[in-house]
């Protein structure tokens, strides 16, 4: 049997005190799709980055077609035939699609860039996704104009332009629409049949079973097992086995099971005037006018595929985006034109991109927690009271930190997220808007977050939240509004609050 296209063994990598990888291993043969699975913190992304030359490992061997090599940089990896598509894009907004696809790899003719070749090849590659673009995409389109899903497709096209023998897709489907994912998987099948080796890193069980031949599982930085997925394999049993491998056979988390643990608080009244939040004809940009009533203490989820308007709705409610229509909180009309006014009205927004929108990375934890609230402490600022309040909230949320003056960057993902939430809890908001709050957080922190939500609900806080995790939505909310293309296509509750209905509504099926 011919040697695998790519094989990595004994890969280790440590970042300061954190051991991201201890003994990572993976093998990809020609003509197969290998899924790489693992919970957050398992090291799967790090392993991916080592293979593609972005990260230099502390130990381990890499072999391409049996020959041991050093993949010292992405350029070297590409030259060896290994290409990757990540969620963080490598596109320059001001350049065209063609220029981006060939950035760093420009074909030359007579000393100058061969633009005609560039454009032609890009057009051929773009044709692979013909029919699934949501906006016109040509080689001469400036990337700035493209929405995230199209940019991701350009990123995929860019990896293809290097004619790789091994292609790694690291959470590459996150921003794609349903039909785009279908087309991608179709293409993956074609490439596989032509002899390419593919690594598919994902946390979406559905997709893994659709596209992968074999699954490799990482846990706590080491490869702990693999499983054949093609052939006579019972889906249920396979899923269970994979989850077992991922969690170490211990208590199975609610992550991948279809029935998540329900978290229903005390039933809420749906009286007319006592609504916590009431919207009439509320619209913003591409979001269609929406009528909605939410009772105090209710937890409403916004579902549907990513990028269908969920974030837009939350930002508009927070006053961070222009909107029209009427909004009332607790029976009184409000017109929130900016976050400051929203704050004062008792609305809080926890962003999805923690680092770019929720935290002040180089400032101490104290300042992060008190940012919206300094006014309260007068002039000169009563620091003792401030510190007391901040410490109080941190304790309430069970944050593991070394001190209020420690830099927020020293916190782990889960703890950092608690700070972002804590910042708002200090103000005791009556309406809490959460944008994918558990993205990138480990299981333990998620559990703590769920209990926090339950407690908030019991206190009467109304919560509106969106999540990229369907199980989470189904397990936590009493009601889920499903959005597609900016419109609410379904409202699921009670009997209709299950996976099938959610997925069907997300895709617009009946």
């Amino acid at each position: 049997m011919s040697p695998p296209l790519l094989s990595a063994t004994g890969v280790a990598k440590r970042y300061g005190a954190v051991r991201a990888l201890v003994d990572g291993a993976i093998e990809v043969h020609a003509g197969e799709v290998v899924a790489l699975l693992g919970a957050n913190g398992s090291g799967k992304s790090t392993l991916g980055r080592v293979i593609t030359g972005i990260t230099k490992p502390d130990a381990g061997t890499l072999a391409i077609e049996g020959v041991v090599t050093h993949v010292s940089s992405p350029t070297r990896a590409r030259r060896l035939g290994v290409a990757a598509v990540y969620q963080e894009l490598s596109l320059v907004p001001d350049l065209t699609v063609a220029e981006n696809v060939f950035l760093g790899n420009e074909p030359t003719r007579l000393g100058g860039v061969d633009h005609r070749h560039l454009t032609r090849v890009t057009a051929e590659l773009l044709a692979l996704f013909e029919g699934v673009f949501t906006v016109p995409v040509t080689p001469l389109t400036v990337v700035q104009r493209l929405p995230p899903s199209e940019r991701q497709l350009v990123e995929i096209v860019k990896a293809l332009s290097r004619k790789p023998r091994v292609l790694i897709l690291d959470e590459a489907t996150a921003s794609l629409g349903g039909r785009q994912v279908d087309r991608l998987f179709q293409l993956v099948g074609t490439w596989r049949d032509r002899g390419m080796g593919l690594v598919f890193i994902s946390h979406r069980m559905d997709e893994i079973f659709r596209v992968a031949d074999r699954a490799v599982v990482l846990r706590d930085g080491a490869t702990v097992g693999q499983l054949q997925l093609r052939g006579t394999v019972e889906r249920r049993a396979a899923e269970q086995k994979l989850v077992e491998l991922m969690t170490g056979g211990g208590e199975v988390g609610a992550l991948f099971l279809d029935e998540a643990r329900p978290q229903t608080p005390a039933a809420a009244e749906h009286g007319a005037a006592g609504q916590a939040l009431s919207l009439r004809g509320f619209a913003s940009g591409p979001l269609a006018p929406l009528d909605l009533d939410v009772a105090p203490g209710e937890l409403v989820g916004l579902g549907g595929l990513q990028g269908q308007g969920q974030e837009r709705l939350l930002l508009a409610l927070f006053g961070a985006l222009p909107h029209r229509g009427s909004m009332s909180l607790g029976g009184e009309q409000v017109d929130l034109r900016n976050p400051r006014q929203a704050l004062r009205a008792g609305v809080a927004y926890v962003p999805g991109d923690r680092n770019r929108e929720g935290l002040l990375p180089v400032r101490p934890i104290l300042e992060n927690l008190l940012l919206p609230s300094w006014r309260r402490y007068g002039t000169p600022l009563r620091m003792r009271a401030a510190r007391h309040d901040a410490a109080g909230v941190a304790t309430e949320l069970n944050v593991r930190y070394s001190g209020l003056d420690a830099n927020v960057a020293t916190l782990s993902g889960g703890n950092a997220q608690k700070i972002v939430i804590g910042k708002w809890l200090l103000r005791r908001p009556r309406l809490l808007l959460l944008n994918d709050p558990t993205k990138g957080i480990d299981v333990e922190a998620k559990e703590e977050f769920y209990s926090l939500l339950a407690q908030l609900q019991a206190d009467g806080t109304t919560v509106l939240f969106t999540s990229s995790d369907d199980a989470e939505l189904l397990g936590l909310c009493q009601r889920v509004l499903v959005l597609q293309d900016g419109k609410v296509t379904a409202e699921l509750s009670g009997a209709t609050l299950d996976r099938n209905h959610l997925v069907a509504a997300s895709l617009g099926a009946r």
């Binding site: 963080e88 001001d94 350049l95 981006n100 950035l103 760093g104 001469l140």
Partner: protein, 323 residues
Amino acid sequence: MLAEARPARGERFRNLTFLVPLLILGVAVLLNYLLQPNLFQPRVLNGNFRVMLPLMVLAAGQAIVIISGGIDLSVGAVVSLVNVLLVTFVKADSGWSAVLLGLAIGVAAGAAAGALNGLCVAYLRLQPIVTTYATSFLFSGIALAILPRPGGALPRALTTFYRSAPLGVPAAALGIVVLIVTWWALRRTRFAQHLYGVGGDAAAARASGVAVAWTRFSSYVVMGVFAAFSAAMLTLSTGSGNARLGDAMTLSSIVAVVLGGTRLAGGAGGITGAVIGVAILTIIRNLITFANVPTWYQTLIDATIILAALAAPGALRRIRGRA
């Protein structure tokens, strides 16, 4: 059916950021002509070109650095340095070999200065503004050490040539044409693509395999070479050396680049814009002179017009946003 390779309406012009400045230039020239009817006479036109050329070359180099996301505050000092080197190596009675040697030394010095800046900014990761400000002291000091007092002279043949009109076209105008042609050639290279990439999003460029540090470093070296040529033009114009010659040119080069439509943040724009920017600056100065503005008010009027021109893109965007 293949994806259409035809650009959408408006995309064809995305890189022609100099169109609005060109319009402004047209208006300015018209006003100048109204106040100075002999503007288009060869002698006057030639004089204008001679004044503009050195700054155009300098602004062109500055544009290249700015496109890649940097900025260079030492350009004026480099011009001074090369200027004094030129008059030190080329005397009034020098022959062609000495002239060429002098030029070669000047270009080498410009490149070396650029290399120092590039080393600090690209490889040591120092902040461009303060670093190039610091190196400007270095270069000024060296220039002053070489030529403590203004002086020196060039062969008459050279200075006369600069004033002449070979083939009926003013020498300086030819220089401007050469500059623009050089840019068109440069624009087609891989280096130029990388410049725009690094300026637009350095992290994305790096992930794509672009040698980011090398690209930035090279942009500064290119700037140094352009500064050297600018000094050469200037020396041809003045015919002598002065260690403080280039001091005022630094800020003018930056203003010209911005006036020409290039973003300070990088990733867009071009030399054509810088050239137009210099032309606008020069015409404005002409306007002020010929409008008989009292001496004491000239600086204020000049500065206000420039500020208005600098504010124009932002103001237009605001108005368009509200429409």
